[in-house]
């Protein structure tokens, strides 16, 4: 029983990203920070145990969990049926304001308008799952390793449009690049979940309780404001 182990050891090990802003990134001191990191801190706090952050990538985050090297994965995980066969998901803990962005001269009001275009996206991220679902067959989706790849592909003109989070697009705009990503349309608001091993009902219940409480007492709202610059949507 993972929960019992955590409480006995007084330590919870949580996998967080460090190359996926704004959910996980680093400061100038190379310490992890971001939405997912704050969420991890919140959970450790509420459980009253020490937090051990384990930085992961999209390639190894699930193996970390499956080999019991971490107890939870908080890495802006999106849900799909295949994934649910392998691990369990908590209640949603974060919204994801995903949109398709592109330069002013490219017109695209909804998914149908992407037809014939090339869209860049970060492989395995929520927007990858969602865009793949809604895009017409003749859209070319280029899947890059990380946000930097996606953004570089956009800035260097390798793709027409990108699908990414609002905050990432805002970060590009901040640099005032020659090519400005403007919002074209929002992808269905798909939330993120915390991942944990199967057959850990106690831990799952505990995490869900903490999320529910955090939503009530405004802690989650505060994290959302801090990292996404937006209110938590009501439907979360």
């Amino acid at each position: 029983d993972a929960l019992a182990t955590i409480e006995a050891n007084k330590v919870i090990r949580i996998a967080v990203p460090q190359d996926f802003p704004p959910f996980g990134t680093v400061g100038a001191d190379m310490q992890p920070k971001g939405y997912d990191v704050d969420m991890a801190k919140l959970i450790a706090d509420k459980m009253g145990v020490k937090l051990e952050l384990v930085p992961v990538t999209s390639a190894n985050r699930i193996p970390y969990l499956q080999t019991n090297k971490v107890d939870l994965v908080i890495s802006s995980l999106g849900k799909n049926p295949d994934r649910e066969k392998v691990i369990d998901f908590s209640a949603a803990y974060a919204p994801f304001f995903n949109g398709v962005f592109g330069p002013a001269e490219v017109a695209a009001k909804d998914a149908k308008d992407l037809s014939g275009k090339t869209v860049g996206v970060t492989r395995g991220a929520v927007e990858d799952l969602e865009l793949t679902k809604i895009a017409p067959a003749d859209v070319t989706i280029k899947r890059y390793e990380d946000n930097n790849g996606t953004i570089s592909a956009f800035l260097s003109g390798q793709v027409d449009l990108i699908a990414t989070g609002n905050v990432v697009a805002a970060a590009i705009l901040e640099r005032n690049p020659p090519k400005k990503p403007e919002i074209k349309f929002l992808i269905k608001n798909s939330p993120c979940f915390i991942g944990l091993n199967k057959n850990e009902p106690a831990l799952l219940a505990k995490v869900n309780d903490i999320i529910a409480a955090a939503r009530k007492d405004g802690a989650l709202e505060a994290i959302s404001q801090k990292w996404l610059g937006a209110k938590l949507p009501a439907e979360l």
């Binding site: 190359d19 802003p21 680093v26 930085p55 992961v56 190894n60 970390y64 090297k69 990380d146 970060a171």
Partner: protein, 219 residues
Amino acid sequence: MSDFTTWDIVRNLLLAARWTVLLSLVSFIGGSIVGALLLFIRTAKGRLGPAFVKAYVEVFQGTPLLMQLFLAFFGLGLFGIDVPAWLAAGLALILWSAAFLTEIWRGCVESVARGQWEASSSLGMGYVQQMRHVILPQALRVAIPPTVGFSVQVVKGTALTSIIGFVELSKAGTVVTNATFEPFKVYGLVALIYFCLCWPLSKSSQILERKLNVAHRNH
């Protein structure tokens, strides 16, 4: 969103480069020891030993190092064997380097003239004595340039340890780029640091080789 100054970037990359150096040293030194053992087995008479080393080399040279690292860390984890990341990284890198070094050195041993084996045999020396006193001293001289040359591959190979959680130079570069979105600056610096680490190695390998060729011509 980014609070990195250029100095922060350089500092963090240099700090991460310490891992690159440490991992390189471990894998090179360990790889040399294991490689030397394998070399003895590979060049000895008999069937089983050489065949084993051959298969070993085939597997470690025929699969991506990334996967070897992945399997050493997570694969063993699946079986409930909890190896710490540094051990898995060290192990995989050592086994990987050993495979290459054994092959490099075997070539050098084979480059020693057959007459040297025969002359030492006819003087009554056994296999280990021949290797120790006659073959290796000659092979070693030839082996130094390609061995130093291979160390460059080791330095670059350590980049793949990020798959099991090491934030060495390459990974630090990725992490910092994803915080700053300044790929050209960051990757330029990463390339520069790699170049500073590797170039002295390749250069000295070339110089050694040239020396050796000159020495050879005097024969």
